[in-house]
Amino acid sequence: MPINSIFRNNGSKAWEETRKLDIVRTRYMKKLLLLGDQAVALGAIRSGISGVYAYPGTPSTEITEYIQASPEAAGIHSRWCTNEKTAMEAALGISYVGRRALVCMKHVGLNVAADAFLNSAMTGTNGGLIVLVADDPSMHSSQNEQDSRFYGKFAFVPTLEPASQQEAYDMMAYGFDLSEKQGLPVLMRITTRMAHSRAVVQTGPRREVAPISFPKEPSRWVLLPVNARKRYDILLGQQPELEKISEDSPYNKYVEGKDRSLGVIACGIGHNYLMEQYPEGCPYPVLKIAQYPLPRKHLEKMAADCRKLLILEDGQPFVEEQMRGIFGAPCAVAGRLSGELPRAGELTPDNVRSALGLPAAEGFAASSLVMPRPPVLCAGCGHRDVYDVLNGVAVGYPAARIFSDIGCYTLGALPPFRAIHSCVDMGASITMAKGAADAGLFPAVAVIGDSTFTHSGITGLLDAVNSQAPITVVISDNLTTAMTGGQDSAGTGRLEAICRGVGVEEAHIRVVIPISGNRDEIAKIIRDEIEYKGVSVIIPRRECIQTLKRNVKKQAR
């Protein structure tokens, strides 16, 4: 089925345009070796986006980086945003004026952007809007393994989950068309192994950027209750049509099989692990799902045809729970909830194999000599000096608790430092220290990175200032967003001004250089500020050793 088949030939101009595009596409096909992330990026560029809006986060970062570096992306806005919420809202602004935008983030970023995301389904869109979220089952670089498909359902928007890098590329054009046709944002969910795996992708030509055009129904963009109630009715009313589109989607495929003792529902890259087991073709009926809401018609057929269903999904049992419902599915269901697959962690060809009841591959035993090799702070990193001093000061305050945050400096939790007591979500260091201080803890110290501070720390600092909480905030400033590879940090050069603006007293904003020669001086400053009964901010500032090396190399050239 051709990709644009959801747009029936109604003789419209749009149909003519897409058809022409298809022809041009086949004429200019070009093969490229791309990461899933890069396939998304190039797909978006070629779909005529006006901007990509993102805050870095593994495994989504390479999408924006590709667009920033691409010579054909000149004119596309691609500067990093302060956080995921500002990114989502800016993209919605582009959509409002009738142009296309892509927003990218890691899964936990969608929590930060959730208010904007859910309400963008309420306003609906004008220009095409794709919200790309990269989930991280197995938590390779994350604090949880939440599955963004729940957010897609929560917001009542179409959700795409590509099974290959080629689909990741193709689904950009498809998704933008779908978004514009339905007037809704489209969620595209990928997982680590799609984001960070390379394959050959067939690419096509670029579509022109649309001219600016304003929304036809201005009232739906003003979500006063009176308007919102109308919009919600419309959104709910759209759902059967979205389900129908899923059923007819070229990306949801039902393939018959001879052996109906089992039917396999394979979502996204779960389909690859399934097909890996059957190079000659799967003997069971297979429903490949790469677009939601769930294609009910196909599910009903499979449940009627097969004695048992096996559900393969790279993430939480999103489909499986819906299949089971409260009163149970019409036939037996196997998956993560019944133990055929592990409840947590990513899918692998091995656990899929075992879920299919195939004999496990004979691997060799692991060597008992192998030790874990955890990541560490780089040699020469300024965070090291900060923790050395902080640990020294903490000896004098046995009750001290150091609330930290997310970034390279979180590695201060591991030996040899063991310096921090918490890491929860971006910005939580300052607010948790404040809460603990409110409850009577002394001393309450927060350690936060510069990028995390501007992402979500500023508002918490304002809370602390407003209630004169006796906390000491250390903003360990390495002038970059290091954890994700050294992207620009939103507040570089302005941290003191920001703290002053929020209301921290000038005398209690202390900037130091974290090098070993300064340790005594820094220790004294930290002690003084701990003893100060109000909000103080200490900013140890020294460039990240990785960006420093890179900058030196660049200058040498």
Partner: protein, 196 residues
């Protein structure tokens, strides 16, 4: 033709450049390819790995199954042992013997090497020393690739071409250094084979 290759090492050693060169050579031979990489957290001196699959047939999974690895290519000896469960019956291990010690509980290196030497199909060489002797210290990773060049199912000339394409943007000196490293690795592996 089909090769499932596990690349392993420590963050910063350069396994991704090896993968890129093999990938380029495979594409030039018209093969299918999938390569899963590890980015992010584990790059800070932690263990890193990449699954690289090349085949004359279409490839489904991005990941290699346990027991499905035809070649384990490791820039670090303990990291080679970590992936033994992925080695197939008859699979090769090509590993650097110079340890990268950045953890306090690194095992006794003689024990590690003894386990590697006991493998039926292994090419073990001190990549760091060979690179240093050849004056190509910064291309130690490509020495390892050279040592594996005869078992990857790709022609040496295509691998060399891959290097020219991948490193071309960095200038002639960088290309020449990496080609020299590739040859040094190949020659050492040949010598080891003759000694057996």
């Amino acid at each position: 033709m089909k090769r499932n290759i596990i690349l392993s090492g420590v963050g910063g050693q350069g396994i991704l450049s090896i993968a890129t060169v093999i990938g380029q050579a495979a594409l030039d031979e018209g093969l299918s390819l999938k390569q899963a990489e590890v980015h992010g957290m584990s790059q800070r001196g932690g263990d890193v790995q990449s699954h690289l699959r090349i085949s004359s047939e279409p490839i489904a999974s991005d990941l290699i199954s346990r027991g499905g690895g035809d070649v384990i290519l490791s820039l670090e000896p303990m990291e080679a042992l970590r992936y033994l469960p992925y080695r197939s019956e008859g699979g090769w291990v090509v590993a650097n013997t110079a340890p990268f010690v950045n953890i306090p509980n690194y095992p006794d290196i003689e024990g590690v090497l003894a386990e590697l030497r006991a493998l039926p199909q292994a090419i073990l060489l001190d990549v760091d020393a060979i690179a240093k002797d050849g004056g190509v210290t910064r291309a130690a990773n490509i020495v390892l690739l050279g040592a594996a060049s005869s078992i990857l199912g790709l022609s040496f000339e295509n691998l060399a071409d891959g290097i020219r394409k991948i490193f071309g943007a960095k200038g002639e000196t960088v290309v020449a250094m990496n080609l020299k490293a590739l040859e040094a690795g190949r020659d050492t592996a040949q010598k080891l084979k003759n000694e057996k």
